[in-house]
């Protein structure tokens, strides 16, 4: 497991997505973690110190593992970049249903317009 800074992590994740376009999968795991071993946690507990929790992000393509930690300060920036990355990479998903919905609303519009026209025609007669 390689621990990276958030930005190099996103770059590496991008190349993982690129490597798996023809075969393979990418896994991304989010975890609430203090990044301390159990012994360290117990030590801090007995010392009465507060544990600091962060978000641990791991990614793998089955061959390579990478990870990064994101805290309260930088999670918004990270999640914005991550969202852009996903938008650019998750291109194999189907878009069909949305088009159908648009068509449905279009036909609804036509229906409404024709109704209005007929209503207007009735009003004028």
């Amino acid at each position: 497991m390689v621990r990276l800074q958030p930005d190099p992590f996103l770059n590496e994740l991008t190349s993982m997505f690129e490597r798996t376009t023809e075969h393979g999968s990418v896994w991304v795991t989010l975890k609430h973690s203090s990044d301390k071993s159990k012994a360290q946690r117990n030590k801090m507990k007995t010392a009465g110190e507060n544990l600091e929790f962060k978000c641990l992000i791991r990614a793998t393509d089955g061959k390579k593992n990478i990870s990064t930690m994101v805290g309260a300060k930088d999670h918004q920036r990270f999640q914005a970049s991550y969202a852009i990355l996903l938008k650019a990479r998750l291109t194999a998903l189907k878009k069909r249903e949305r088009k159908d919905k648009r068509k449905a609303t279009d036909s609804d519009k036509k229906m409404d317009i024709s109704k209005k026209k007929s209503a207007a025609a009735k009003a004028s007669t």
């Binding site: 989010l30 609430h32 929790f53 962060k54 309260a72 999670h75 969202a83 194999a92 998903l93």
Partner: protein
């Protein structure tokens, strides 16, 4: 383990699972994406309970973005963080375009 079909159920149950015991080391949120099959699987588990959601629709990827935001917020800020803002935006955005279409008619 069964796949949950309703997205809203999935979100609600996964947040519940995390909040039930936030300090539990085994609780995690996993996204698996398979480009060659165009499939996306989301999983939230604490090794006792497991909630999964499977999709091949691009519109669900957009919903997932909101769930990502929720989990990033919960996990980096703590389980008591306010997620109504990240969750609330989604409803605002969903309603706004509908209103727009309505006015045009």
């Amino acid at each position: 383990m069964v796949y949950i079909t309703s997205w809203d159920d999935f979100v609600e149950r996964s947040v519940q699972l995390f909040r039930a015991d936030p300090e539990k080391a085994s609780t995690r949120y996993v996204m698996k994406y398979r480009h060659s099959d165009g499939k996306l699987v989301l999983k939230v588990t604490d090794d006792k309970e497991c909630i999964k959601f499977k999709t091949d629709q691009a519109q669900d990827a957009k919903k997932m973005e909101k769930l990502n935001n929720i989990f990033f917020t919960l996990m980096s800020r703590g389980p008591d963080a306010d997620i109504s803002e990240v969750g609330g935006k989604e409803q605002m955005e969903a309603q706004a375009p509908k209103k727009g279409r309505g006015r045009k008619q």
